[in-house]
Each structure stands twice: as C-alpha cells, then as structure tokens.
Amino acid sequence: MTRGGEQLTVPPADFASYYGRPVLKPPVWKYDIAGYLFTGGLAAGGALIGAGAQLTGRPGLRMVGRWTALGGVAASTYLLVHDLGRPTRFHHMLRVAKVTSPMSVGTWILAAFGPLAGVAAVAELAPLLPQHGVLGLARRIAPPIGTVAGLAAAATAPALATYTGVLLADTAVPSWHDAYPSLPFVFAGSALAAASGVGLIAAPAAETAPLRRLALAAAAIELGGGHRLERQGLTSEPYTHGRSGRLVKAGRALLAVGVATALVSRRSRVLSAISGAALVASSVATRFGVFEAGRVSARDPKYTVVPQRERLAEKQSATRL
C-alpha cells in the first residue's frame, strides 16, 4: 500500500475522510466503564431483589440482594473514580446538577443509592451485634432502618440501571447514539439478569423462585427492548461483527442458557449455580460488547461519514421535491 513508486492501487471507498482517520475521537473510557456498566446494573438489580425479598419475607435472599447492591455500588464507585483522569477531583461531580448530562444525573442517583444500599446492607449485620449496651440499641434499631433504606435504594435502582443506557447514547459515538431507544432496555434486562444470577448462586435455594421468573423477565426486556440494536442500519455492524459483535452474541447466548437452566434447575444447587453464572457472564459479555461496539464505531470514519452523507442526500432530495 505504501510503495509509492510501484503505483500500487488502493481499493475504492464510498466515502472520504482526512487521511482515512476517524472524524470522532474514540471514547477514552477504559474498561473500568464497561465494568461499571455491569456493576452498576448488578447493584441496581441487587437492591430490587433485596427489596422484593424483604417485602415477601425471604431473609436469605434479602441479605444477598442487599449485599449485592452494596458490593455493586462499591465496585462501581471505585471503577468510576479510577477511570477519572484526575481521581482526586471525583467530588467535582457534585458541583452541578445537570439534566443534560447523564453522567451528572447518574452521579446524583449513585449519591442517593450508594448510602441507602450501604445502610441496608450494613443493617444485615445487626444479628452479629451484642444484645446489650449501645451496640445493643443499634442491633435493635438497625433492621427497621435497613428496611427503609432497602426500600429507598430499590426505588432509585431502576434509574441506576437504565441511566447508563442514556450515558452511552448521549454521545457522538455512532453505534451508541443510534441505539438510544434500545440501550436502556438492554441494560435494564442485563441488570436484572446479573443480579438474579448472583442470587441464584448465593441465596438459599428455597428462596430463589422469584429469581427464575425474574431471569425470564430480564431476558424478555433485554431481547424485546434491545432487538433493534442489530437493526439500526450501518451502525448496527459493530454489534454483529468483529470482537464486539461476538461479545454481544455471547451475551445473548449466555442469557438464553442462563434463563433456560434457571427454569429447569428448580432446587438443584448445581444447576442454579450454573444458571447464575451464565446470567452473570451474559451481563458482563453484553456490557463489554456494547462498550466495545461504540469504540469500534467511533474509530472507523465510515460510521460517521456514510450515515451523515445519506442523511444529507435525503435532505437534498426532500428539498428538491
């Protein structure tokens, strides 16, 4: 290609770009953010499950849910801070509250969710406290506080799970932006699947029945709400091809396996664990796949130029008519 003297030919392209280089800057987010998409969803799902278990009297599942929520949100906070170029300035996120910035909205959601999930989870430690004294008092008041906190966390959890779809979509990254109708659903489903998966692995088998239904619902949401991902034109390509495409497909396949296994596992610990692992893995794969697809689409000027050219052509033919 570069042998100037030899007049080597260059394959034709149906679009031009400055030295073929990307028009956009590919996202600088590291895999921290792909990981956060997963942990954030997990935390949200965990909080919902914790609340559901709390309201339906499943203490084992409640504890798992609450701890999942805390673990997820703690990991999320770590990943988010770690991804910053200036981690010591993480608190600048609380300078403003901007509805135009999904990250700002997310920050405030996390700011609300995190402490609530934390309190709810810590409340689970009440039985370990001594019966008397100051700590005894804490032991007594912790459960009701946990109840309130758990329910409050669950109230904010759906926002936590779905705002990340907007976080990615509200960019110039072609495959993310074009996917804005789908991403919140994909992420909502993926969040429930992951949390269900953890529950299936960790909760007492007797209490996991809702999780199997929830896994099924998660799949329905993810696939139903997200099926357009592969049907949004040229910018679908990264979701179906290459490494990112393989990850997305793997996510779908694992989701199917996880749900199917969950539905048949009944009280088998082993099958439940397998099912749970598949669901968690599905969520991880989906998140990383979507994340990667965006990077691919920003890096190749084709996804920027060609759709915009088509749009311009349409506009022109419209004005001509």
Binding site: T2, G4, G5
Partner: protein, 865 residues
C-alpha cells in the same frame, strides 16, 4: 514567499484581493504555488532563460514603456564598435581572457568613453567580490554618453539587447527550462499587460537566486525586465529581494565582510589603494556623476569614527592602519585554508557553517584543523560539537582524541536580551528595546567585542610595535551600564550616524558630512538615523495612523526613503505617470519635489535642470536622471562595466548540470570562481563525459517551519514538531524509476557526500521535458543537522564549492546527484560509496569542468553548428 516569508505574503494576498495576478515560478510546487494564479515548474538553474524569454517578448512586440525606457534607462546610449556579443561568440562576450578566465571589460564601454574608469582589473574585482560594492551605487562610468533616442542606432543598447536576447524564444524557453510555451506566454503577457502608466508589476525573489554561479545576472535579468516595463522607482513595482535573516541587509550595509567597509566602501587593496587618495579616488572616479563623487567625505568620516582624535589630515586620517586585501579572503577560501592548516583561530557568531554552508564536510574538517574556535550562539549547534558528533566521527575522519581544536562555547544573548537595530529586507532600520537581562553567562556580541577589545588594548598598552598602534589609537570608549557592564548600543548607533566633532551634534544627513575631519560618521548611508539626537529607528507611530508609506515607523536608509529612485515615479517633466500611480512629483508652485515618500532626488533640482558639459558628482545629474547613484544617471539595461560575467545576462547551465547548454556552446559561466582543492570535487557536466553518473537535479530551500541551519528552530519544540524529520520530495515518476516509496528511505549521492532522508512522494514535484529529455528534480530542506530536538542529514553536505564571480556567493541551489533507495551506508562503507561514485564519474584525479567549452560542438543542441 508564502513558504519562507509568510507575513510578507499578506501583501501579496492583499494585492490578489484587489485583482492582482500572481505567478509563481519554482522547481517544486510550494505553499506559494497553492495560492498563485499560475504555477510554472522550472528546471533549477535556468531562470535567465525564462526571464530572457520575457525580455525578448517585450522587445519583439515593442511592449516596453517607451517613454520611461528612453528617458530613464541607457537604452539610447551607444556602445563602442569593439563590443561583440554572445550571439557571435558561442556564448562569450568580447574581451575574454583564457588565461585567468576573466573579461577585459574595455570593449563593453560606451561610445566615446576612452576607457572604463575602473582601477582594478577584472581578476582583482572577482577576487575581492567587487560586485558587492555596487549594492548602494552603480559601477563607475563617465557621465557623458552618446545617445540615439530613436533607439534605431544599431549599436544603441536597445538594439544590442534585442540582438542578445533574440534566441530566447518561447521554444527555447521550453527547451531550456522545461516550461511549456503556453505557460510562458501566459506569464509574459500578464507581466507586460500589467505594466505601464497606470499599472505596475512587481518581481519578488528569494535569495536562493543569489546562490548560483550566475546569481548576480539572475537579478540583472529581472531588473532589465522591470526597467523595460517602467516598473522601477514606482509604487507597486521594483525587484524585491526577500532576504532570509533578521539583519542580513544591515550586515552588508555595516558589513562583516572581508571586502567591504561600512557604507559599501571597499576594503583597501594592497596594490590598488596604497594611499588615502588612491582609495577614495577609486570610489569617486573623478568626473563621474552622482553621489559617489563625495567618496572622500564618506571615507574620511569612517576613518575618524574608527580612530577618533588620532585620525588627522596630517596622517591621512590613519588610513595607513587599514589592513589590505591581496585577493580572495572569502569564507570558502578560508575554509580551504583551514583544511590546509593556514588559519589558527575562528570566530562563529550566530552562524552554523557545519550545516548552513556549502560542502559541510569541508566546513567540519576545516574546523577540526584549527588551533582554537570560538562559538557564540544561543544553542549548542553542530559547529560547536563537530569534534563530538559530526558524521566524520563515524567515518573516522575526525577523532576527538586526535582533534586539537580548542573550542570555546560562549552563550549569546537573544534578541530580547539586548537592544539595537536590525535592518530588514527593505533597508528599514528598526530599534529593538531590551526586555530582560540575558541568562547566566549569556552576553551580547556588543559586550563580547567591546570587552575583548578592551582587554586586548590593555594587554598592548605598553607595546611600542607599529602594528599595535591601530588598536591603541582606536576610538574605543563607549559608555557602559548595568551589572554586566554592557556597552551602550545607542552610543554606537550615534557614532554610526555621525556627529560634529566640535559640538557633538548628531548629523541629520550625509550631506552634512565634511571631508576635513570636523565630522565623524561610521556609516554614511545610515546618517540621519540619529538626526536631532533622536533614535529615528525607534520610531513606532502606528501604521494605522500613517499613510501607506508609513514614514514614521523606523528609519530607512538612505535619508528615510522607502522606495529608491522614486524620481522615476514621475515622468521626465516631473508629473505623475498617472493618478493611480502617483508617488513623488515636482511641485512647480513650490519649486520642489514632493510626494508621499522622501524624494530620492535633490529636493529643489527642477526636472528641466541640465548639467554643465563637464559637471561631475551630484551636479552632473540632470533633472530627469532618476538613477542618481549611477555614473550616467540612468537605469542600466546594459552594464558597460562592473558586472564581471558580461554586460548582459546570458543563460549558462549550472556548474553541475545533466544538460548541455541548449543556447550556446559555452556550457557554464566562463568567469565563475573555481577552487581547485582535493576536497572540492565536482560532478562532471556536459560536454564532459560521465555526467550520467549523476543524472538527477537536486535543489534545496526552506520550509516555513524551520530557519536556515536549524539552530533557531530545531531547538524549539513548537517548531521542531511541525517538521520533525529530514525528507526529500520526489515525483511519482522518479519514485517509480528508482523504487522509492512514500515514507521509505532514500539517499542522495554526489561526489562530495551521501545523505539520507525520508521520502515524500508527491504530485507537487514533476519531471520536466528539457531539450527532448526527461529531467527529474528532487527537493530537500537544508535545515537539518545532528544536534537539536529533531535531527537528520544536512542537504548542504551534497554541494561542492563554486562561486558567482561578482560577489563570491556559492552555487548552492542546484547540483546533480544520484538517488538511491534505502538508507545510506555507515562508516567506511559511506566513504567507499562516495569514492566509488567519484571513480565512476572519472574524477578520481580531480578533473574540473573546463571553463570554456566554445570549441565543443554538440550537434544535438548547438544551433550554431
């Protein structure tokens, strides 16, 4: 211009905005070409053929500005019948002397002049680069001339010019330059159509034009066109030199050149200038018209400035102290003398010859053979570290432990750390205020030389040797100030300006200078810069508050004139040629010259003034002679004396050319300055054999992002990153021919050196069809060296040393080479490669191209055969 002088180019863009057409002629398509209305790719080294074609186009179609030409140029002047032209002599003029390859200029003289009034023979003139003296005045010639204002006399300059350029047809332009005829005609037509009463055309060149073995004649050709079209001395006209260094104009005005003293006074020659009288007479040429008649005044004022009270009428103002030239003492002669062990010590003052001068290897080997070297610079440049990092270390030609040169590196003050004046390319002096103190040991040259002089004078205080008198009597008492004991630049400027000895009053004009020792003036053309005791160069009245001429910004020599010879902007009667081009005119009511600029004429001399028959000096200039520093008051289409390689420009091939001269049998400039020295090998050119060993033409120039040898740009991060590597631009055709790939490596080989560069294959470089052959040219930037943030081989290493005879400037804009893919060899293999090329080209024993080739017919190209 956009490439090397972008800020100057804003005015070209202004002109374009108003409808001006811009033609760009360059071997490669540059940033200037991109903005031009027409681009002409030219074979490097053939500009005279192109411009000669324009001269012929003008004369053949009688498109000259006849009224201007008759009145203001020497077109009507009759030349002696002894004169014979290149037309008749295969490319030589009459008077050629084979023995020393110079012309006896006697046969070129004007009719009726007994002989040209020059006191130095042509060889001496060449050795002493006498052409430079003409920078502020014409060559000596008598004032009275025989003229035929009908221009019909067969020996009038007009007719001689016509015959001389007759063969520069559009076909010949195409054949020599590789410029298709239609392109040439587009240029010639636009140029002539945009000249005349109402319009003017401007010729702009960058000083690459001077770096040819016929450099002076390049510029002469341009001047001839501009004179024929009436474009000299008028607004929007002229020949504009884009010089490349902040004060390079100043450093010829107040020269650090071996053959000149301030104000273009010649350095005395041992044979021709034994006494003060002989010296000043050789400048003034008694009987000659014009301002040089006062040469004695200028000379005495300089001597007074140098030796102060010690300089008196009784001792000829210490003229005897002056060192004398005996021949060529130029920088290239010096380098060869260094190699030969004749020179002990060398000062480099903000100069980097290891990269910036032709034949870098010779430069470095010369420096490696000194007793001591003083380098004063901002940065650790290649010329300071040659003993450590030169390419010759790798080849074993220089080894630190065997190199005796003692090197002193003294850090210099930058332009913001000292005050003083720069003279820019339009002769404008601008004062710089000092912003900060220099860091550490950094000092100005003013400091260094003042204190060096002080110490030397202290050492010699007790000396009784006659040779030391010149130092001890030197006027060297400048006031100093500040913690570094910095001498006052303003005091020096005042001395340059000149003052009355008795009163100390600064002179307002060189016309106030006296030749009796009562005034002092270090550089007569700068007199007025300190008029009224005010630093006129420091004037900074905003341009927006002045006329377009902006006379109150800085100060231009002479006498703050912005356009020289501007008397020519008015017709012979003193009226503007047109309203549109009004500039300087005669105000009959006030009986004086007036206008937007300072008239370049005696203020009250009316257009009708006619001198007495035997008037000389200023009085000899008629009221309609605008060219007041020419001996005959006329613009010279034809130079009856003073231009060593001929009275008119003639196309000669570059010294290294793959092409036999299609115009004449004479191949290259027959009077060029040649150095026969073992290190100075030259590639063979036709009609010599083996020229095909170096089949390609290479040329070098600047990039916008870098400055000359790179000492002030490769060391500066925001510039270095913009052009980070040495590269060579080649056409796709040559790339295919030589197997070069874009961003791959190539190396270029001459009989001096091989240098490597990254390849940029680009459509901006084109092969040319020259005399039926395809000629490939390559282009390189000459900015790179082995020090700094970005490094690379130096393009100037490729050149040999051959000089223009008039000014002793080297031909370093064109040469021949071979181009090979890949990196160059290293170490001994590199030496072997170059030696092998020398062997293959037949000059293992140093065969220099013959000076005269008129006896070699070439049937394929000799139309006289």
């Amino acid at each position: 211009m956009a490439e090397a002088h972008p800020v100057g180019f804003q005015w070209v863009m202004e002109a374009k905005r108003r409808g001006a057409k811009v033609f760009h002629v360059d071997p490669r398509f540059t940033r200037t070409s991109a903005l031009a209305d027409s681009y002409l790719a030219i074979r490097a080294g053939t500009d005279i053929a192109l411009l000669g074609g324009v001269v012929r186009y003008i004369l053949d179609n009688e498109l000259d500005f006849r009224e201007y030409v008759v009145a203001y140029t020497n077109a009507a002047t009759i030349v002696t019948e002894e004169y014979a032209d290149t037309e008749d002599m295969h490319g030589l003029f009459s008077g050629f002397n084979d023995d020393n390859a110079t012309y006896d200029q006697a046969s070129w003289r004007y009719e009726g002049h007994s002989q040209n009034q020059t006191t130095r023979d042509s060889e001496t003139q060449r050795e002493t680069a006498a052409g430079l003296e003409n920078e502020s005045h014409g060559a000596p010639v008598g004032g009275e001339t025989e003229r035929d204002e009908t221009l019909q006399h067969p020996r009038c300059v007009y007719q001689i010019l016509k015959r001389h350029f007759a063969r520069y047809t559009p076909e010949m332009v195409e054949r020599v330059c590789g410029i298709p005829q239609e392109k040439f005609l587009e240029l010639a037509q636009a140029w002539t159509e945009n000249s005349g009463r109402d319009r003017t055309g401007m010729l702009v060149y960058s000083v690459g034009w001077t770096q040819h073995s016929v450099g002076v004649q390049y510029i002469r050709t341009g001047a001839i066109i501009q004179l024929l079209l009436g474009n000299v001395g008028r607004p929007g006209g002229g020949v504009m030199a884009l010089r490349g260094h902040a004060s390079i104009q100043g450093s010829t005005d107040i020269p650090t050149l071996f053959n000149l003293l301030p104000g273009y006074l010649p350095m005395p020659h041992h044979a021709n200038h034994p006494t003060l009288d002989a010296w000043v007479d050789s400048i003034a040429h008694p009987g000659q018209k014009g301002f040089w008649g006062n040469a004695r005044t200028y000379g005495v004022n300089l001597l007074k400035a140098y030796w102060g009270d010690a300089a008196t009428a009784d001792n000829d103002y210490c003229y005897g102290y002056m060192p004398r030239m005996t021949g060529d003492h130029g920088t290239y002669q010096q380098v060869l003398d260094m190699i030969d062990g004749k020179i002990k010590g060398y000062f480099l003052l903000g100069q980097n010859p290891a990269v910036g001068s032709a034949h870098g290897r010779a430069q470095r080997l010369g420096m490696a053979n000194l007793d001591w070297l003083v380098v004063r610079d901002l940065f650790m440049i290649e010329s300071a570290t040659f003993w450590q990092n030169a390419p010759e270390i790798e080849t074993g030609e220089i080894a630190p432990e065997r190199c005796r040169t003692e090197v002193f590196f003294l850090p210099a003050a930058s332009h913001v750390e000292k005050e003083g004046t720069f003279t820019q390319t339009q002769r404008l002096l601008q004062w710089r205020e000092k912003a900060v103190e220099p860091p550490g040991d950094a000092r100005s040259e003013l400091w260094f030389f003042y204190h060096l002089g002080r110490i030397i004078r202290e050492r010699l205080a007790a000396s009784t040797k006659p040779r030391d008198r010149a130092l001890l009597d030197l006027a060297w008492d400048y006031p100093t100030h500040g913690p570094n004991v910095e001498p006052s630049a303003e005091a020096v400027l005042r001395e340059i300006n000149g003052y009355d000895v008795a009163t100390g009053r600064p002179l307002a004009s060189f016309t106030e200078m006296k030749d009796d020792g009562s005034t002092v003036g270090g550089c007569w053309i700068y007199t007025g810069v300190y008029a009224d005791g005010v630093n006129q160069a420091a004037r900074r009245k905003p341009g927006s508050e002045q006329s377009l001429v902006a006379p109150e910004w800085g100060w231009a020599w002479p006498a703050n004139r912005r356009i020289l010879y501007n008397r020519a902007s008015a017709d012979p009667d003193g009226n503007p040629w047109s309203e549109r081009k009004r500039y300087v005119w005669w105000d009959a009511d006030k009986s004086e010259w007036t206008g937007y600029d300072v008239p370049d004429f005696e203020k009250t001399k009316p257009p009708s003034y006619r001198p007495e028959r035997d008037a000389s000096g200023v009085a000899g200039i008629a009221g309609d002679d605008p060219f007041i520093l020419q001996g005959d008051g006329k613009g010279w289409l034809y130079a009856p004396t003073g231009v060593l390689d001929g009275p008119m420009p003639t196309h000669y091939e570059p010294v290294e050319s793959p092409v036999r001269n299609p115009l004449y049998r004479q191949q290259a400039n027959p009077t060029r300055k040649v150095y026969t020295h073992p290190i100075n090998t030259l590639n063979p050119s036709p009609p010599q054999e083996h020229s095909q060993v170096f089949p390609y033409v290479f040329t070098v120039s600047r990039l916008t992002e870098h400055h000359t040898a790179g000492g002030m740009s490769r060391t500066v991060s925001p510039l270095a990153e913009l052009q980070p590597e040495m590269f060579v631009e080649v056409s796709p055709e040559l790339a295919a021919l030589r197997g070069l790939s874009h961003l791959g490596w190539a190396h270029l080989v001459t009989s001096r050196a091989a240098v490597e560069a990254k390849v940029l294959v680009t459509d901006r470089v084109t092969p040319l069809r020259v005399d039926g052959r395809i000629i490939h040219q390559v282009w390189l930037p000459y900015h790179f060296g082995y020090e700094g943030l970005v490094t690379g081989d130096s393009a100037n290493d490729l050149f040999g040393i051959t000089l223009d005879p008039n000014v002793l400037i080297q031909e370093s804009k064109v040469g021949t080479c071979d181009v090979r893919p890949g990196r160059r060899p290293r170490g001994q293999d590199l030496v072997d490669l170059v030696v092998d090329y020398r062997r293959r080209s037949g000059n293992l024993v140093h065969r220099y191209p013959p000076m005269v080739t008129t006896d070699v017919a070439d049937t394929s190209s000799d139309q006289e055969a």
